[in-house]
């Protein structure tokens, strides 16, 4: 603290509180809406106090689906989202650990080229190659499947960079000691490097889980069957019905369900999450 200014502090608190409220407000409104019934919303009588239909609405959405738009119980897309998010996070971490290990701990021709090939994928988001990528996945018969949802997204420049950065900081003495003990590369990787990398791996997992969970364009493109949908796409399907018929209390319950898992992950693992985000900046 450079100087003592109680009024300045008060102002800071007020600005922060205002920020927190503005950020939380739409979610709170959605939550209240998800505890009410259709007539309350349709009549424009939504208040800021939760109503008593919470359990009813969530049970309806999870196990029966919404009435007019999709009959699909949302538990299915919720599970699909979990599978996709975990698959993408684990896949990215796995292949990026291997790549970073190869690049840091070996000398071989085209080492730099390999690094750049991975690195430059940063410049090719799905959005710039929508239809050709769709065509390949379709040719490989991976439409409407978990591998189709997961594998095309698991190349990761970010994770490779982060692990590469981390491996650089691992003391050379550890490798020398392992070599003296007669450990081969894979043994060193498994018994020395992996245990040391728990923190960056967890940080990456948090970031990539959120990335996977929130994918929109990709599942939209390659899933057509209802039972392969993700929850994020499920929301869009609910909105598709004629506007007057949208069952907003159920749409909002779905929205809350769609955001809850990644938000819980961020809040519960805040330290890892912040670390992962700030470090991938470098």
């Amino acid at each position: 603290m450079v100087e003592n200014r109680p009024w300045g502090d008060l102002l800071s608190h007020l600005i922060l509180i205002a920020g927190v409220l503005v950020v939380a407000f739409p979610v709170y409104v959605a939550f209240v809406a998800s505890t009410t019934d259709i007539t309350t919303i349709a009549n424009g009588q939504l208040s800021l106090v939760p109503d008593r239909h919470l359990v009813e609405n969530y049970v309806q959405v999870l196990f029966h689906g919404t009435g007019s738009s999709t009959k699909q119980p949302m538990i299915v897309p919720l599970m699909n989202s979990f599978i996709m998010a975990i698959g993408i996070a684990v896949g990215k971490i796995f292949i990026s650990l291997l790549s970073a290990f190869a690049i840091i701990y070996f000398r071989f021709p085209f080492r730099n080229t390999a690094f750049w090939v991975i690195f430059l994928t940063l410049m090719l988001p799905v959005e710039v190659r929508i239809y050709p990528t769709y065509k390949i996945v379709s040719d490989l018969h991976m439409l409407d499947s978990y591998p189709g949802l997961i594998i095309p997204l698991i190349a990761s420049a970010t994770a490779t960079l982060l692990f590469r950065q981390f491996f650089m900081t691992v003391p050379d003495e550890l490798l020398e000691a392992s070599k003296i003990d007669g450990a081969g590369p894979l043994k060193f990787f498994r018994d020395t490097l992996l245990p040391l990398s728990i923190t960056p791996i967890s940080a990456m997992f948090v970031i990539q889980f959120i990335y996977g969970w929130n994918q929109y364009l990709w599942p939209l493109l390659i899933t057509t069957r209802d039972n392969m949908q993700t929850i994020v796409i499920g929301i869009q399907k609910i909105l598709l019905v004629a506007d007057a018929l949208t069952e907003w209390q159920l749409a909002m319950a779905t929205t809350i369900l769609a955001m809850l898992p990644p938000v819980i992950v961020v809040v519960a693992m805040q330290r890892l999450f912040v670390r992962g985000l700030v470090e991938t900046e470098k």
């Binding site: 603290m1 450079v2 100087e3 800071s12 608190h13 600005i15 922060l16 920020g19 950020v23 739409p26 409104v29 424009g44 292949i95 291997l98 790549s99 190869a102 690049i103 701990y105 071989f108 991975i118 994928t121 410049m123 090719l124 988001p125 959005e127 710039v128 190659r129 929508i130 239809y131 050709p132 990528t133 997204l153 190349a155 990761s156 050379d172 490798l175 020398e176 070599k179 060193f188 969970w213 929130n214 929109y216 364009l217 929301i235 869009q236 909105l239 907003w248 929205t255 769609a258 955001m259 990644p262 938000v263 961020v266 809040v267 805040q270 999450f273 912040v274 985000l277 700030v278 900046e281």
Partner: protein
Amino acid sequence: MEKRTVFSGKLLPFALLAPQLAVTFVFFYWPAGQAVYQSFLLQDAFGISTEFVWLDNYRQLFSDPAYYQAIMVTAVFASIVAFSALALSLLLAVQADRALTGAGIYKTLLIWPYAVAPVVAGVLWLFMFQPSLGMLAKDIRILGYDWNPYLHPGDALALVIVSATWKQISYNFLLFLAGLQSIPKSLIEAAAIDGATRSRRFWTIVFPLLSPTAFYLLTVNLVYVFFDTFGIIHAVTHGGPAGATTTLVYKVFNDGQAGGDLGSSAAQSTILMLIVIGLTAIQFRFIERKVNY
């Protein structure tokens, strides 16, 4: 920086790299190359015959007023969202950095929207601004403005801008806060002793030292608005009304799907590719140099 000791295998490193490289080539480079290649082709409606037409697809694109509209929409959308998201999060980060009591709680309460999918952000704000039953839409109407994002282009764009900004504040806030916390307090104390006022200290010391972070965030925000906001637009406004929220990415998607004009869609993809390559290149040049004063 290189390791002193390494393993000697020559084949093993390739095996280790194989999975990542395979995914990269099959799902990134090959389709990207296809997009570029197709942008030079003209395909008939049934996909039976294709003809190499050089730059015709591009020429057609740049004589299409709808494409210019999409460029304008994207430019307006991107600059407003990037500017507001950066300004608001900087304001919040500066307050949180003042070593206040409860700073940790504010941080937790401000960062969670990062985890919210853009489409969810869009639906949350749509619900409040939905013309017939939205809570805030009613307030606007009481003020005498006929708010309707389904009909009025400006309203639709405003709705999408608010949703996109709301979601991006948390990320910017976190990185600004990290940037602020890495500025040595001694610099600020020294300036205070010299009699520099709070705002002078901010604009002459803190802000310049924060400029690498701000610049990095600017490019990240632009990439975010260009590409990640697709979900908001697709679910909430469908690019309308009258193309008012049709961004470049939404147009690629829509033209390829509805119109089936693959050549044009591929040409648009190629242009987007150039944009994102440009943005990332700038981003990394600056990170490398670590702009500092």
